[in-house]
Symmetry: C2
Subunit: 555 residues, 2 copies
């Protein structure tokens, strides 16, 4: 039962930043209102050694580029109304996640890999849902496994009729695992395919071709090879036909800069200090400073350096870093530093200009980063001390935390928190609730009470309002925090992951939470089962001369 220890696909540090000039696997071409995002995976340009990315199969490195491309389209090319995702390889769209990469990866890496690829696909849908950009999967060849899962994250799916190309989810029949990137959930919950047909499709290694695939709802249409490009183009034209898209100019996303050291990372607005021995990290976010722009025009001019964009991009990069590169960190203590008034003024600007495309994108990105935090398998404690600025958008950090500690000492300085317009709905969780709604499911009237409180909350008021877990006094503060950290980091990391996945998502479920909760949890279970990853498991044996051997007991 020993954990698959670090294997070849684990590298010391994975870098989640890239840019189109650096892409090795994707080509991004902007053509007026249409972006062409074309997959052309370089089989040797793998993230680590040990496998080749044949047939447009992907590893984390390929998906980091995809995530970057989607993000850049939103900020740098707001004039884009439709994104056509296709392949530059003949007869193959995408063969999905590379199986040899999966087969040689540790359990932890597989789990993190799937989580990231899921977030990328949810980001595509987020763009479609909230920014109106239409994603078209132009399947100029077979889309299998993760390839079809990428297609099904798009709004429209068109498949070439070349007598050979199919869509398929061969994971269950070929690999003994699930399609791990939302495929099963999207079959029945997004495309609402009949469950018996979804069953047949998900157990049919070769998948389905044009006519039957369309009949069953797996694709929107199919066209012969000779007419494919033209037909897709016409569909795209239809899509963007009458619609008006607010247009740019876009803003350039600069690289997110940081100083790394053994003990942490320093970004402009975010710091990470690692306490490796104690298996926890201190993460501090610094609020905005100086004269902030208040009009979209000024903000557009300021661009990537605008606090809510830069600070949250930094936080996003850091969350990905600690997930993948710091596996032993089990707890993150969140702090903020800065001026509450500045944060509130900033939120006011964002709320007042919510209709402007750039403000919308900036706010949607903040929401995605906060959801990335909700979905991070680390415990979070927010520590609210004097000179912090847990206000408005930064109050969401506290509301996203598993616990909130707020110092109760009127003498030691100003310890306050505050709400803003952004706590009322602009930054929803994956289940659609605001974090205040999620917190107060048992006392829903408190949501409006808190939102109506137009001054700051001191510690006693915050406690009274239900916004903090514990409010230790000055004398007890350090001891209580130290003990809480020690206790938390002593617990089974697996039990905490399962516990937090349950307690963080009370209330309704959405397609997204079903993917991260139900589907992912089952996949993680299967990813540990000998029938998949054992010596004779299907994933281990894929492509070998030996045949997988199953323990056929049904569990």
């Amino acid at each position: 039962m020993a954990e698959n220890a670090a294997k070849s696909t684990e590298v010391r540090m994975i870098n989640f930043q890239t840019s189109p000039e650096q892409y090795r696997h994707w080509k991004l071409k902007i053509d007026g209102a249409v972006a062409h995002l074309s997959m052309d995976v370089q089989e040797d340009a793998t993230l680590v050694e040990g496998y080749k990315l044949k047939l447009n199969s992907y590893d984390l490195g390929v998906d980091i580029e995809l995530a970057d491309a989607v993000q850049r389209i939103r900020f740098e090319h707001p004039e884009v109304q439709a994104v056509v995702i296709t392949s530059l390889k003949p007869r193959i769209f995408c063969a999905g996640a590379n199986i040899y990469m999966l087969g040689t990866s540790s359990h932890a890496f597989k789990v993190n890999f799937c989580k990231f690829t899921n977030e990328t696909r949810c980001a595509i849908e987020d763009d479609s849902r909230h920014s109106g950009r239409q994603y078209v999967a132009a399947l100029n060849g077979t889309a299998s496994g993760g390839g079809y899962e990428l297609a099904i994250a798009c709004d429209q799916i068109y498949l070439v009729d070349d007598g050979n190309s199919a869509v398929s989810l061969p994971e269950v029949p070929l690999l003994g695992v699930l399609p791990g990137t939302g495929g099963l959930t999207r079959l029945v919950d997004k495309r609402k395919i009949r469950r018996d047909r979804a069953d047949v499709f998900s157990t049919l290694a070769e998948g389905l071709k044009g006519k039957r695939a369309k009949e069953w709802g797996l694709i929107d249409d199919h066209f012969p090879t000779s007419k494919f490009a033209e037909a897709v183009e016409a569909k795209v034209k239809d899509l963007i036909g009458g619609s008006e898209q607010e247009s740019g100019p876009g803003i350039k996303l600069n690289p997110v800069a940081f100083q790394a050291s053994d003990s942490g990372r320093e970004y402009k607005y975010v710091s990470l200090k690692l306490n490796r021995e104690e298996r926890y990290a201190d993460l501090t976010m610094r609020g905005p400073e100086g004269d902030l722009p208040t009009t979209p025009e000024e903000i557009q001019k300021l661009g990537y350096a605008y606090w809510p964009l830069q600070a949250y991009r930094e936080l996003d990069d850091l969350l990905l870093h600690i997930r993948v590169n710091e596996p032993e960190v089990g707890l993150v203590c969140l702090r903020t530093e800065g001026d509450i008034d500045q944060v509130l003024a900033l939120d006011k600007t964002l709320a007042e200009n919510a209709d402007h495309w750039l403000i919308r994108e900036i706010t949607l990105n903040m929401a995605r980063v906060l959801r990335r935090l909700d979905l991070t398998a680390k415990s979070f404690f927010s520590l609210i001390e004097p000179n912090s600025c847990f206000a408005g958008n930064l109050l969401e950090l506290a509301l996203a935390s598993d616990r909130v500690y707020m110092l109760n000492d009127p003498d030691s300085g100003v310890t306050e928190i505050a709400v803003s317009e952004l706590n009322a709905g602009a930054l929803p969780m994956s289940n659609g609730l605001t974090r205040l709604q999620s917190r107060f499911q048992g006392e829903p009237e408190r949501v409006d009470e808190v939102l109506a409180h137009d001054s700051r909350f001191d510690t006693e008021q915050a406690e009274e309002a239900g916004l903090v877990t514990f409010a230790p006094e000055d004398l007890d503060w350090e001891d209580e925090i130290r003990l809480a950290i020690e206790e938390r980091t002593s617990l089974s990391p697996d039990a905490l992951t399962g516990m937090e996945a349950s307690l963080r998502f009370a209330g309704p479920e959405s397609m997204d939470t079903k993917i991260y909760g139900r589907l992912t949890a089952w996949q993680n279970w299967i990813f540990q089962r000998p029938n998949a990853v054992g010596e004779k498991g299907a994933l281990t044996n894929y492509g070998k001369a030996t045949q997988a051997q199953f323990d056929y007991k049904r569990t």
Copy 2:
């Protein structure tokens, strides 16, 4: 990574039937409108050897009695309006699932054990929700782990104030696993406890006592030892005060009789034929025959032998049997035999008398059995052939199946199906949808079309209506079925379990589906992790001199 093979808690055959005269762990006392269900676990009366059931801890045998008691109250004692669950042991209500039993059980057994105990607790809530019976947990001592999870399945929780007794969920801090019987989900989704408080409570081994427990919403009230019995009695009196309960007399539930052999089981209305080598089973349900009663009075007189009660109780027993005692069976082929008109007449009687307590209980039981089928980790194929009676309530078997095959051969006899009133809402899935709604999420208008179809569907009509997956012709039928069976039983049983858990539950999620989907899947994952079940895992090490040792990587 080898599967924990069969260990001491696995016995050849587990019998899920019992009756109050046979109870060893519970006392059921009916006192007018109040039932007292008291736990008094005999520590040596274990299901298998190897552990002692100290401190009212339980194994599957204890829970089988609890499930039976709840079922009997509903049928045999309809006059009961409140059920008080308490303990006959001093200072301890219930210590939860026995840890040594869990520690020595195979993974598969743990999974099935948790599923059954979850179903029992959902059955308590089903009784409360649909039959109005109030469940009161009278915690005359500490309720920890599964003990508190039993309490939280009740409508009201009262805790004694004896300076010592507490409620707690110590699984995460002590055992490195989750509270596996819905506890985490019910904390935040039923009692709607603030997530940060739920976090603190679920990591606090010693739990919380009266005042704080009430303040946080974990219990409804607490009373000192000297006044506890009296105070609970007063609360119960309040509960049943003005309400009127339709009363019996109840009907006696006879033992469900069957003939067992190596190759299967024969009940009166249900047959199981095992094809062990091929790892599938044939399950046939026979429809009602002869003159069926049409009034509640006649039905009450007929009692347990009334078809919908007896046939579904048999099916229930059989489902539990194949889950636990036939782990290698991966696929169940469902068939029916009988007269469609009889089934439809029966459904008419049930629908017309839905307000009568006995008809209500019979129908609710059918619904629970069908949900047990939805939640069974075996594949189900329905095979519709001539002389079958997939109509009304039995059509739900087909709608619950992963696939439906219907013979298309007008010459070979009558192959038809039909809907009844009961397909419109009386037999909902765990997510609250009817199985027709679940099937037609993509084409919701079909639900009403199908329900409005007041004659039978022949095969072509059934296919046209979207009710069958495949309709092979006579010449192809045997080959196609044989191939489908061979293919299904060749696939990884784990991947199928995860796939079916995803595809069967499209659409909304309820507290129940969150327990069976999200929570259970995470628990199953944790139940495989070395941090829980490895040599140095917390579950394995519980009660030993050695300390658990964790791999602290967070996954």
